[in-house]
Symmetry: C2
Subunit: 113 residues, 2 copies
Amino acid sequence: MADSTPTTCDADGTCYCPLASVLDTLSGKYAMGVLSIVDAHGPVRFAEIERRLPSASASTVSTRLKELRETGLLVRTQYDEIPPRVEYELTDDGKDVRGRLDPLLDWVTETER
Amino acid sequence: MADSTPTTCDADGTCYCPLASVLDTLSGKYAMGVLSIVDAHGPVRFAEIERRLPSASASTVSTRLKELRETGLLVRTQYDEIPPRVEYELTDDGKDVRGRLDPLLDWVTETER
DNA sequence: CAGGATCCTTATAGATACTG
DNA sequence: CAGTATCTATAAGGATCCTG
């Protein structure tokens, strides 16, 4: 991910950033799902995210969480207990982006069901 | 593309459709770029889309156009002239989806520039 | 519990060459 | 002009095993 696709701009001033970091991150498999789950149920633990995304493997959930963290859309909080507990929740940016996904997700549910 | 990822629903009624057809289509590289170009400059010819996406190969543009057509977001019109001329433009669904991308794309431009 | 490391398979994109 | 077919390279995801 985070490839080298440049932002391309036209002579007329129109610009396209097809894979700018956030869009890039969101394009990962289950990224929107993870974002939605953490939004709806956060603070939420790893196992619960996994449980709510049965078709995603643990390593995929892990990768998505890492990317979303690196993009600044969510934060990880670790509690030093035994057994260890970790919770995820959205940052303000994460909530912002999540909200901006609504029109699109609405379209999908309106259309597909 | 169009993999077998199922729609997953929680006991509490919340549903996630991470890769429903439209989102799936939009996740292709340059898909949003092609959609934006056809929206902004349509009816537009193949060569012009290519010109406006210098970093995408012709075969990728071709693939994206095909997928967007199959998802019903744009239409292809062929004129039987010599040399041949083909034009692409958005369907009503395409315009709808394109509009729903705005909040997200706005966020990107607000943030990255 | 939370996940990193590894290996493997599949998806996806790019290059090149060629057609209606 | 507007593609498509084919091939290759790479990226992304999944399964499994292992650890702090």
